[in-house]
Symmetry: C2
Subunit: 198 residues, 2 copies
């Protein structure tokens, strides 16, 4: 790898690490250069300002997370099994270190600078991308009965987010895999009790 690319990586890695552990505000460029084992001048040769570096970090982290399969509705498979598959993917994402990092950094910035809020809502990660289509197909097939599909989709995702994501984000607690399985089961039970076609 070219040297300059190597240095750039070191800078981004250090920034990701420090922005996460100390917050963007509390990370000085001197500290960052030290951690990256790069001179401060080199940091500024790659990124004009601290903010540019922050933008680049967010972009890189989003790209890392953007991968991930899409689940499409399958008439032949039991609905609870399909929902479980979706939920498991989502919980894996929501509790992954990578996702928690970018979320923490992004949310801290958004709360300090509300004008960036749109950035967050626009970015569509995980099952949010395809859940509406999935539910629509399931309704068409007569498996589910939902009047407000986007709302129901949110209800499902929010269950997982509330139990898995926010507690981790705020440093309150981590779930064991057994607890995660319980959360998924109950989210599905709740959802199907309301929306499964009879």
């Amino acid at each position: 790898m070219k040297l300059t690319e190597q240095k750039r990586m070191q800078i981004l890695d250090a920034a990701e690490e420090l922005f996460h552990s100390s917050g963007v505000e509390h990370t000085s460029m001197d500290q960052l250069a030290l951690q990256a084992k790069v001179s401060k001048r080199t940091v500024y040769n790659h990124f004009a300002t601290k903010d540019a570096l922050f933008q680049a970090i967010l972009q890189r982290m989003f790209n890392k997370l953007a991968q991930g399969g899409e689940v499409r509705f399958n008439v032949a498979e039991p609905i609870d099994q399909q929902l479980r598959s979706i939920a498991q993917d989502e919980v894996t994402l929501l509790s992954s270190a990578a996702f928690l990092r970018v979320a923490k950094i992004a949310i801290m910035q958004v709360m300090q600078r509300p004008e960036l809020a749109q950035l967050m809502s626009d970015s569509s990660l995980g099952c949010k991308r395809y859940i509406d289509n999935f539910l629509t197909d399931a309704c068409s097939a007569g498996v589910l009965q939902i009047t407000d599909i986007p709302f129901a989709g949110k209800q499902f995702i929010y269950q997982l987010k509330s139990f898995v994501f926010y507690p981790s984000l705020f440093g309150l607690e981590q779930q064991t895999p057994a607890q995660q399985a319980h959360i998924i089961n109950e989210a599905i039970a709740l959802f199907l009790a309301r929306y499964q076609a009879k």
Copy 2:
């Protein structure tokens, strides 16, 4: 009121206002004194450091919010009506400017200094205080059928939080009263579909 108490109030009011609108970090003590219409030295006569002032603010805001009625289960009243009453109180709290202020300030600090996380989870506000008792009574009366009561209570509260609180916190959107009513109705429908005794 004694003058010194009056000044103290002015300082706390200004701090609450500025800490919320600009964040703790971005609020300077000069700015704060200006807004409080008080000299900077007076600020320091009341609060030794910026951090002490911050602690006092948090304490005062929590005390303001700690009030709030408790709903107890009533066999004679329909369960959906009682849940609606609880949910309405909760949504009113979660969307109140006062609650959003303290939450924003507190969460930002918690995310920057994870060692303070316990502070948040300990403080019990709103229906979180009494919902377990309520659900236990409703189960005993045979109105609801729940195996894991604390978990079910969270499921209910998290519905409201996810739709009302977090979007406001992150500056994404505010709900109209009509939307809030819809959220409450659907949260109850979801909950009862799963847990109402048949």
